[in-house]
Structures are given as structure tokens and as C-alpha cells.
Point group: C2
Chain length 287, copies 2
């Protein structure tokens, strides 16, 4: 049995075909332009296969509420050509097969949970700190979604006492994303994160905010492991700084695994999302 998978990112699309063991067999990748152009390439790829299901992890926000009138749509994205695009609807019109539909970060969370750094665990999380902050939770092997998909990057954090930056989030200013995502470094220091010395105190601020978020996710979700990825995690020593902040902030209130087992780097390079989309496709066959 073959299944299809799409990782729809803001800059590129990855389409793949996998099997029921969640193995990736073949893939293509092309830039994200307009729905008309990009979907033509999506269809050209999948038309070649006999698929049992397709899993889609899309940039967002997207509508994941099955009883909503705009279920399957891309919502208010800054990529205007895609705003209000009925992504899932167009896929379903072309292929009348079961489809899984979630965000790109949720797909990556599922990939890391099932086959990556959190393999074998049922309750896990994945967070990426890059251009923005996104996170997904896997609860009992399934993606966590309520009335919509989580937006965990917009958790409100306590400002660090020595950090005078006000944050770049247009909604909240100093939420986690506003204070810890890549653009906050530029916002504070006028240069990109990769050009800032790893010993600069700004990384202590960033680690403090991420530590707070991990404390929140821990007391609310009680995951078995949290996988941390994204550009900001490339700063040398960042994971260690975060472990220290998290441990101090949690203050042993709830038991968690040893911090080196609890807070880990991704097991996949860039393949977490597309692998998660394959898993999602297989899960939607089973339903």
C-alpha cells in the first residue's frame, strides 16, 4: 500500500510517497508560489501513484475543525495568494481518498514522536524556535487539537529583568515568539542571530523565555519528552542554557525524566515534517 504526503512550507513544498511502515520511498520539492502553479506540480507528482490516503502538514494558520464551513482552508496567512485557499478541498476534488490535515509543526511533532527523537513514546512535544515559534503536542500517539490547532508560540512570558526589548509580536509584543524567535535578536541588536557571539547575554534572555514555556508545557501537558529544533537552537550552548533555566523554573514541582532525556534535539534533520505527513496518511487509512 502506498500513501502520499505533503509538507507545505511557506517557501517550499515537499511531496512524497511512503508505505504502510511509514518509510519514505520517493520525494519531490518545489518553491511555494501561487496555489494555481504550486498545486499543478502537486497533482503532477501524485497522479503517478495509486494512493490509499494522503497526509498534509501545511503552513498556517489553517482551519482544522471538521464541522467548520472553512475546514481545510488556509486562513489569514501573510502569504496573500494562499489566504482563504481551500487546500484540502482541492486535494479531495482531485483524489477521493482519506486525508489527514494538520499544520507543518504538528506534522513534524508526529514525525519526531513516532520515528525520531521521541520514538516509542506516546506523549511528546516538538517545538521549533526559528523565524517564529511553533509547537505541537502528541497525546497518546495522536496530534493534539481542540477547536483549532495550538499556537503555543504565543504564550505570555515574564520579561527578564535585564532585558529591555519590548518584543516584535504584532499581537502581544513580548510573548514567547516576540521575545525569543530569530527576529527578536535582530530587533535587539540590529544583526542576525548567527552573527552574535554565543556568550552574549541575549542568549540567556532567550533561554529564560524558552525555559518558561517548557515549564508551562510541562505542567499543562506532562509530556514524556520535548524535542527542540529550529534556527535559534543552532546557537552553541543554547540547549544547555535552556536545560538550566527550565530546571530552575520548574523547581522540582512535578517529576520529569532526567533533563538530558527530557529536553532533546531532533532525531530527523529536515525530514520530520514529511515523515509526520506520511504517518498522518497511514493514521487516516486506519480510521
Amino acid at each position: 500500500m502506498l500513501v502520499g504526503a505533503i509538507e507545505a512550507g511557506g517557501t517550499k513544498f515537499v511531496c512524497a510517497v511512503g508505505n504502510e511502515k511509514n518509510e519514505l520511498l520517493e520525494r519531490v520539492s518545489f518553491p511555494t508560489t501561487t496555489p494555481e502553479e504550486t498545486m499543478k506540480q502537486v497533482f503532477a507528482f501524485f497522479d503517478r501513484f495509486e494512493l490509499a490516503a494522503i497526509g498534509i502538514g501545511s503552513f498556517g494558520p489553517i482551519d482544522v475543525k471538521p464541522d467548520s464551513a472553512t475546514y481545510g482552508y488556509v486562513l489569514s496567512t501573510p502569504k496573500l495568494a494562499w489566504k482563504d485557499y481551500n487546500f484540502l478541498g482541492d486535494m479531495k476534488e482531485r483524489y477521493d481518498i482519506p486525508m489527514g490535515w494538520t499544520t507543518d509543526v504538528n506534522a513534524a511533532a508526529l514525525g519526531e514522536s513516532a520515528m525520531g527523537a521521541a520514538k516509542g513514546l506516546r506523549n511528546t512535544m516538538y517545538i521549533t524556535i526559528g523565524t517564529g515559534v511553533g509547537a505541537g503536542a502528541i497525546v497518546d500517539g495522536k496530534i493534539l487539537e481542540g477547536i483549532g490547532h495550538p499556537e503555543m508560540g504565543h504564550l505570555l512570558v515574564r520579561p527578564h529583568e535585564h532585558d529591555h526589548y519590548k518584543g516584535f509580536c504584532p499581537y502581544h509584543g513580548n510573548c514567547l515568539e516576540g521575545m525569543a524567535a530569530g527576529p527578536s535578536i535582530d530587533g535587539r541588536l540590529g544583526k542576525a542571530g548567527k552573527d552574535i557571539d554565543p556568550t552574549d547575554e541575549v542568549w540567556d534572555f532567550v533561554a529564560y523565555y524558552i525555559g518558561q514555556a517548557l515549564e508551562a508545557y510541562t505542567v499543562i501537558l506532562r509530556p514524556e519528552r520535548i524535542v527542540l529544533g529550529g534556527g535559534v537552537m543552532k546557537v552553541p550552548g543554547m540547549l544547555e542554557k535552556i536545560k538550566t533555566q527550565f530546571t530552575t523554573l520548574l523547581a522540582d514541582y512535578v517529576p520529569v525524566p532526567a533533563v538530558d532525556d527530557y529536553l532533546v534535539t531532533p532525531g530527523f534533520g529536515d525530514d520530520a515534517g514529511i515523515t509526520g505527513a506520511i504517518i498522518l496518511a497511514n493514521q487516516s487509512v486506519e480510521k
Copy 2:
């Protein structure tokens, strides 16, 4: 078919018998003393019935991890007679039937979700702000638990700029519980909350902290509705203050239902917990 239910609180136990429609048929209640004494009364009540299952919502912390060596135990509670007590084990020894085992607040969350103020919804939350702060989440009709049960009251919050109180949580000082639960009022003003004027600014502080927590739960869990109970919610005007804070803090970032439908008071008086335990019993039969 009959099922049993226990709401084990720190000051009193409620035991009940219900049917497969989750209707409460008969109940007794007695003070929580020692496991020896109290469990004798529990057994005396349940021995009279032929039960298909029992659901237990217990004060905690408790061990809810099925593969743990101390699964079913009460853990490090300040009620010393109950510390390390094998509650579920003793129940199973007496009655060899399926049992559901969770915290008292999770049981209340399930009760409110299935039959109370969040009836008909699949993804809901219940939070109680009383002597402490506890909260439970229902995801797709089931209680959310990972490696342990949530401890959502220990979310870290931003101090209000005019609030100089340091918080009473022995672990975190100024976490949500430390800043917003009943004892924080005493800690600030030297008298109980019910003796403080409802227009005192302390209630604005409390509403600010609860509003932050609701923002966090919203972006992480995306519930359809949040039910708020506990002694502190009895302050006149408190729910309205919280709605205002929450709305300001969320800043329309994610869509939520109209705030009057989203943040609501409990549908049950004191029966949410015992009703939730009956539902849990019925869920454990189905498994």
C-alpha cells in the same frame, strides 16, 4: 448495570452508585481521616452492590502512570496518613473489577464536560481557584494525562506592576497558585477573601493572573469552553474581570467563541467530581 464512584477529597470522601446513563442513584459522605478508618467506610458502602466498575477521583498528587511501580498510589501529600498509600491497589484487592483512577479536579472536569456547563463539547477545561489552583482538560472526551496528571496551577505568571506580593507557593513563590489562590489574599491583606471588598484592587491582580493562565491554556490546548469554579470565583464581579483580562491578553490572536460562551461558571454545584467519577467508571467498563 451499576457502577461505583469515589470523590476522595482532602476533608471528605463521597461514595456513590450510578447507572450506565451516568445518573447518580445513591450516595454517602464521611470525613477523610486515615486510610484504615476511611476505607472501612468505603468498603461498607460498596459491599452492598454488584458493581461493573468503579471510578475514583482522588486528592493528590497521585500516580496515574500505568507502568509505574507506584501506579494508583497517593504520593507526597501533606495529609501524612495518606502519603504513599496504595489507594487503587486496596480497592482492586477488595473488588476485582475495572477501575478508572484520576485526580479530583480531573473528575470534576469530566463531570462538567459530559453533563455540566460544557455538556456536548469534546474539548473542554475546568479550573478551580480555591485553597489552591487546580485544572483538568478533556481532550476528545477523555481526561488529558501524560507522564502524570497536569499541575496547571503552577504555571508561572507575570507579576502585575502594582502587586508587590511575592506569592505563597513553596516551590515557585509567584506562580498562578501562589498569586491567585485564596491564601494569597490572606498573605497580602491579613484577612480572608470573603472579608475583602469586591472593589479592592487585589481582585484586579487575581483576575490578571487568571487571565494569563486562560491565555496559556487557550493557545496550548484550544479548548471549546473553560469552566471556572472554586471559592475565589464567588467574589462578586470576578468572572467579568477575568473575561476582560483574558480578552485583552489574548489580543484576538486565535479565534475563540464569544467570551460569554467560552468562560463560564460550573453547571453542577458540588456534584461535578462525583458525577465525573461515575462517568470515568462507565468509560472503564467500555475499554
